[in-house]
């Protein structure tokens, strides 16, 4: 194993271009990993502070939308001394380039990380085509 590197500070990215909100508050872009295998597309998103019942995932017209609301963790009598990060809603949208089997989408949320598995529909999985010699 190679020596592990140190994490560079990225800071939270605020959403800038989005339809105006009806409720006040800051909206952040969650950091994601997206990878693809032959059969599935997997999306991992960091959503610290979001509980499963306040996370909404919506897929329509090949656009997947992730909206997560956080529940405040601070007690009522607490006073801020240092605020390095702010909290708020998480929002991110992706357009899927491949057709996804909507009935088999699987979403898991654990320790503030969402794992979304999107299986490709059968016809989109590559098939090996045997070439016959002439």
């Amino acid at each position: 194993m190679s020596e592990s590197k140190e994490i560079k500070l990225k800071g939270k990215q605020e959403v800038t271009a989005q339809a105006e909100q009806t409720t006040p508050g800051v909206v952040f872009t969650p950091l994601v990993d997206i990878f693809e295998t032959e059969k599935t597309i997997t999306l991992l998103a960091d959503l610290p502070g979001v509980k499963a019942d306040r996370l909404n995932i919506d897929l329509r017209d090949n656009v997947i939308t992730i909206v997560g609301d956080i529940s405040p963790v601070e007690g009522k009598d607490e006073e801020d001394l240092v605020v390095e990060y702010e909290t708020g809603r998480y929002y991110r949208q992706f357009t899927l380039s491949e057709v996804v089997d909507q009935n088999k989408i699987d979403a898991k949320l654990a320790d503030g990380v969402l794992r979304l598995t999107l299986p490709k529909v059968e016809k989109a999985t590559p098939r090996k085509i045997a070439i016959k010699a002439a």
């Binding site: 592990s4 610290p48 007690g75 240092v82 390095e84 990060y85 702010e86």
Partner: protein, 150 residues
């Protein structure tokens, strides 16, 4: 909105020799905030970002550490500081083609100075939904006391 920022650098003793320096730095921060618009926060530039709050009994240090389990974290407290270190591992997927890779893995270590003395024996830490909360009870001498006027 003016926040008391004294964690500019890990290990700074903001109460004594750096007091003046810190005051100047805060003024600079405010100046830059005015120029760059809201949302600019000065941080120590070290992962993870922390929020520090207090109530009359304790200090609370919070950090966002999604995907980490408690055994990957190490928290140490002294009378006036707390250190949070650990390693965030993101296993690489086999036979997968990555389209985006924004989540970072690696080691981190951060020391947060506290404005008053705490009781390091009674420090508690909890990790819920990727948010770490370290509860640091204030030392008896640092707690505010109600004084009745006769």
């Amino acid at each position: 909105m003016i926040y008391r920022r004294f964690l500019g650098m890990p290990g700074w003793d903001f109460r004594s020799q750096y007091g003046e320096l810190e005051r100047v730095r805060r003024q600079m921060d405010r100046l830059f905030e005015g120029l760059a618009g809201q949302g600019q926060r000065t941080t120590a530039g070290v992962f993870p970002l922390v929020n520090l709050t207090e109530n009359k009994d304790s200090f609370f240090v919070r950090a966002e550490l999604p995907g980490m389990s408690s055994n990957e974290l190490e928290i140490q407290a002294t009378a006036n500081s707390v250190s949070i270190s650990g390693e965030r591992e993101i296993p690489a997927e086999q036979a997968a083609r990555y389209h985006r890779r924004e989540r970072e893995s690696g080691r981190f270590s951060r020391v947060v100075s506290l404005p008053q003395e705490i009781n390091p024996d009674q420090v508690e830490a909890g990790l819920v939904d990727g948010i770490l909360t370290v509860t640091l009870p204030k030392a008896e001498i640092a707690k505010p006391r109600q004084i009745s006027v006769k």
